[in-house]
Amino acid sequence: DVKVTQSSRYLVKRTGEKVFLECVQDMDHENMFWYRQDPGLGLRLIYFSYDVKMKEKGDIPEGYSVSREKKERFSLILESASTNQTSMYLCASGRVSVNTEAFFGQGTRLTVV
């Protein structure tokens, strides 16, 4: 069964902390994505990666960075967390081919206080 696993369901962090959100997929997918989900705004792409050590900025990369050292793992990093980064974060993965779809993790609800 297809699986995308995010390391935490809920996180509470303080303003200014460095925050790591981890995502692992077991499907050998080339592509991995980080989205942010906010009420009324839908899902917005933060970063995506199409291969190990490769990354592309999405629509809202400011305040975030990513790391992909292994094919199965894609990390989202908040260098200095701020309250406006309080949100639901969704990781997804998919193949580089036509007829593809994205598979999503359960999400991490991050609260920055």
């Binding site: 994505f33 705004l41 839908g42 899902l43 917005r44 997804a92 998919g94 081919s97 036509v98």
Partner: protein
């Protein structure tokens, strides 16, 4: 870049009634179209997708969607909803041939099924 409009942010409907969730996209060129569902406290799950071929696409849980190129729409329908269909529904579009390389999502429609 593509954009997706889901006109209805909330749709209440009685159990066993039909429902249509509307989705329009911006591009007039070939696109791939998707509907995802998000149940409370869960990630997104694919309901159905249109890549090519027949404009009527059937998905899981009795849902279907019709691709209308001239109206750039991809509305989701179900003839008779169940309580368990209460969820948030997202329409998404991507440019072929990259498929899911970059999905553009609408803002979502919250479907509430009333007993």
């Amino acid at each position: 870049a593509q954009s997706v409009t889901q006109l209805d942010s909330q749709v209440p409907v009685f159990e066993e009634a039909p429902v249509e969730l509307r989705c329009n996209y911006s591009s007039s060129v070939s696109v791939y179209l998707f509907w995802y569902v998000q149940y409370p406290n869960q990630g997104l799950q694919l309901l159905l997708k249109y890549l090519s071929g027949s404009t009527l696409v059937k998905g899981i849980n009795g849902f279907e969607a019709e691709f209308n190129k001239s109206q750039t729409s991809f509305h989701l329908r179900k003839p008779s909803v169940h309580i368990s269909d209460t969820a948030e529904y997202f329409c998404a579009v991507s440019d072929p041939p990259t498929g899911a390389n970059n999905l553009f999502f609408g803002t979502g429609t919250r479907l509430t099924v009333i007993p």
